[in-house]
């Protein structure tokens, strides 16, 4: 078999432990799991009921929307959740293309979290419609110039790619784990089907590698396109505060930033719950943290650029918006975003004292909350400014909106919990491949690194 290097008892034991660990969430479902599942399930059901209420009342009459602020929580949630799915693209695709060997233990978690957030996020273009039953018209009589049409195409295409990115590596994993002890008949059957007769032969391996590389290469421009197109819903209008050339890159950077945070949280949660520290080790979490910090800087730079450009020239409309955002009406929310979403995460990860998994997890949680808030700040303030004259608009989310968005958040976690009952949480085959390549290159490189190098510990192995 073309798997791990020279067979040895220790290696075999390690492999066996890896296989067992990968299936822990699938096999173990203790009280805590069910408590969480049921609790989240209730929140999701409340959200679904709330949507039913919205449909029954018709026309979004139960929301806090009005003729001035006609886009708010649903649209912000749409952008935020689809942004959260970018962690999958980053970890699974970009890190694969750059040959980052530390990605192995977290690729599966990244891919599943990407799919979960994407599936739920893709519901919101439907939820925010006044006539959702007419959505088939987007296929029957589309306007190819419309950003909304391109939103749909982009999201559907991206969903396909994310699904493929998840399913392809499941083929060898299913083959490997099909005979694990403890698997029930259903899961064994599922793995048998998914494995597609995988035998690890060279031609199969080549075909799979080629496919993964192609999809990984494809998903990078697609990720850029999807969120750029989402930003076009705002920037292809003449509204001050929206009509900005930076929106495309801004949205993409924000998406990857928040996406990495989601992967960090998911990885930490599963690591803690199923004792996966041996594989999802501190170094992996730290590396993810570093990636998040770099993206945070990029997002901060983009925000700074926006504000400076608008503020310096000082056009009436932009100045009003900036005042509202930074000094007046929305100032508490804006500065909360800057503090909790940019400064705090960077600080937590910059200082060694707080660069622990707990600290990084806290940073990730802050980023997720703050980035959702930022999406609201992008959508609502430019709308509350009147286009011709008159009073500023205002917006308060209604109970129905809060219920639906909370239900959606719960739904994301539910989908993850559900999927990991069937899908191995560790990408076993990929990890073994990485290990093999690593071992090969280490043997070729010569003697082991010095003690000093090892003691540094923080050196990311990219």
């Amino acid at each position: 078999m073309t798997d791990i290097g020279a067979p040895s008892v220790a290696a075999a034991a390690a492999t066996a432990e890896l296989h067992e660990a990968a299936l822990r969430p699938a096999l173990k479902a203790g009280r805590r799991f069910w408590a969480l599942f049921i609790g989240l399930g209730l929140v999701a059901i409340v959200g679904a009921v709330a949507y039913g209420i919205q449909l029954a009342a018709g026309g979004l009459s139960v929301t806090g929307y009005n003729d001035q602020v006609f886009w708010a929580s649903y649209e912000a949630t749409l952008v935020a959740f689809i942004g959260f799915s970018y962690g999958g693209a980053l970890v699974s695709a970009v890190l694969r293309l750059t040959n980052a060997s530390w990605r192995g233990p977290i690729t599966r978690i990244a891919e599943v979290s990407a799919l979960a957030t994407l599936l739920v996020g893709a519901l919101f273009p439907i939820i925010h419609l006044g006539h959702p039953e007419r959505i088939w018209l987007l296929f029957a009589r589309p306007n190819f110039q419309s950003p909304i049409f391109w939103d749909m195409v982009a999201i559907l295409t991206y969903m396909l790619a994310t699904l493929i990115l998840l399913v392809l590596p499941l083929i060898p994993d299913s083959a490997m784990l099909r005979d694990q002890p403890g698997l029930g008949r259903l899961r064994r059957r599922l793995y048998a089907v998914l494995s597609l007769g995988w035998a690890g032969t060279q031609s199969q391996r080549r075909a799979l590698e080629r496919a993964m590389t192609v999809v990984a290469i494809l998903i990078v421009p697609m990720a850029v396109i999807v969120h750029t197109v989402l930003s076009y819903t705002f920037s292809l209008t003449s509204r001050p505060g929206w009509h900005s050339t930076i929106f495309g890159p801004y949205f993409v950077i924000g998406a990857v930033y928040s996406g990495v945070a989601v992967v960090i949280l998911a990885a930490l949660a599963y690591r803690r719950a199923y004792a996966l520290q041996r594989w999802i080790d501190d170094r992996t979490i730290r590396n993810l943290g570093y990636v998040m910090v770099v993206l945070g800087f990029a997002y901060g730079y983009a925000t700074f650029s926006e504000i400076t450009t608008e503020g310096f020239v000082g056009k009436q409309a932009e100045v009003e918006l900036l005042y509202g955002l930074m000094l007046e009406r929305y100032a508490p929310l804006f500065w909360a975003f800057i503090g909790l979403g940019l400064l705090a995460p960077v600080a937590l990860i910059a200082f060694r004292r707080t660069r622990t998994p707990a600290g990084i997890g806290l940073a990730a949680g802050l980023v997720i909350a703050a980035m959702y808030l930022k999406r609201l700040l992008i959508v609502v303030p430019p709308l509350s400014r009147p286009v011709i004259a008159g009073d500023a608009g205002s917006y308060t989310p209604s109970v129905v909106e809060i219920a639906i968005v909370s239900g959606a958040a719960a739904g994301v976690v539910l989908i993850m919990l559900f999927l990991f009952r069937f899908v191995p949480v560790l990408a076993v085959d990929e990890m073994e491949q990485i290990e093999r390549v690593h071992a090969d290159s280490r043997m070729a490189a010569g003697p082991r690194p010095t003690k000093a190098a090892v003691a540094l510990g923080d050196v990311a192995d990219v």
Partner: protein, 287 residues
């Protein structure tokens, strides 16, 4: 060591890692079928995509689904409005007249009268209705072509097609579009329900509404509601082709009237080419 499936024959196939020499006939035909299906599928997809892509150019410029003869006939008139701000006193009769004619919900305004502070400290009133832009941003962004150009220049709104995404409201720089959040009050007795984009009553919940330039009235040779409701005779309706405009009382040569009185348009810099002209003023012509 573990291998996929764990069965020994797998280890042996490692040596000859290509498919076995003898290929099952069923496998052959199955493979051929799958290949053919994939080819046909992608080919069909491409063809459909090509067709759809080509038709997209036609779609974007499509007006109402009219036959060529009707469209040409309608295009003989190109409606425009002129609002003389020297006469507007901000009374809001145009707003209420429009609401009455279209049986609008009481808080819905299709022509809004703003109070504007000028650079010289003067206060003027600015009625803003659908600007009937020649390059309407709302038409550009509607995903299902529910809002479109009629051949006579009216930007029409089909509430039977509108999915309620409100993208047009985001794109409109004049804020003339409103959304029917609530169900509309029922029509008065004797008034028939209508879904024609030229006159929709009652307003359909969950769709966008806006001034329809009283296209239904203009086509019948009658005046828009705001024109007849204005006691100051400040609103004119005109035809760019015939080069005439009238407020029901005075009739003028449109181009002369605009040139002589220094007409302007709102947000000219946005390039929307609106067909509503304004004559600058601050109600100074009121008797």
């Amino acid at each position: 060591m573990a291998g996929p499936g764990g069965e020994k024959p797998a280890a042996r196939t490692d040596a000859s890692d290509e498919q076995p020499a003898a290929v099952d006939r069923h496998e052959l035909s199955r493979r051929a079928f799958v290949k053919a299906a994939a080819l046909i599928g992608t080919g069909g997809f491409l063809a459909a995509g090509g067709l759809v892509g080509v038709s997209s150019l036609a779609r974007v410029s499509a007006a109402a689904d009219l036959d060529a003869a009707t469209a040409t006939d309608l295009a003989k008139r190109q409606w425009a409005f002129v609002i003389d701000l020297r006469r507007c006193d901000g009374c809001g009769d145009c707003t209420t007249g429009c609401q009455r004619m279209h049986h609008l919900p009481p808080d819905q305004q299709w022509i809004k009268v703003y109070t504007i502070q000028g650079a010289g400290g003067q206060e003027s009133f600015l009625p803003v209705l659908c600007q009937m832009c020649e390059k309407a941003p709302c038409v550009q962004v509607c995903p299902v072509v529910a809002t479109y150009h009629e051949p006579d220049g009216v930007v029409a709104m089909d509430q039977e097609l509108c999915i309620g995404c409100r993208m047009c409201m985001a794109a409109c720089p004049y804020g003339v579009r409103v959304f029917n959040w609530q169900p509309s009050p029922p029509l008065p007795a004797g008034v028939e329900s209508s879904t024609s984009p030229l006159f929709t009553a009652p307003q359909r919940q969950g769709t966008v509404g806006k001034c329809d330039s009283c296209a239904h009235r203009l086509r019948d040779g009658d005046f828009p509601a705001c024109v007849t409701s204005c006691n100051m005779e400040a609103i004119y309706v005109g035809d760019l082709v015939a080069d005439l405009a009238t407020n029901g009382h005075d009739t003028v040569v449109l181009s002369e009237f605009l040139r002589a009185n220094d007409a302007f348009r709102l947000k000219e810099e946005l390039g929307t080419q609106p067909r509503v002209y304004y004559i600058a003023g601050h109600a100074q012509d009121l008797d």
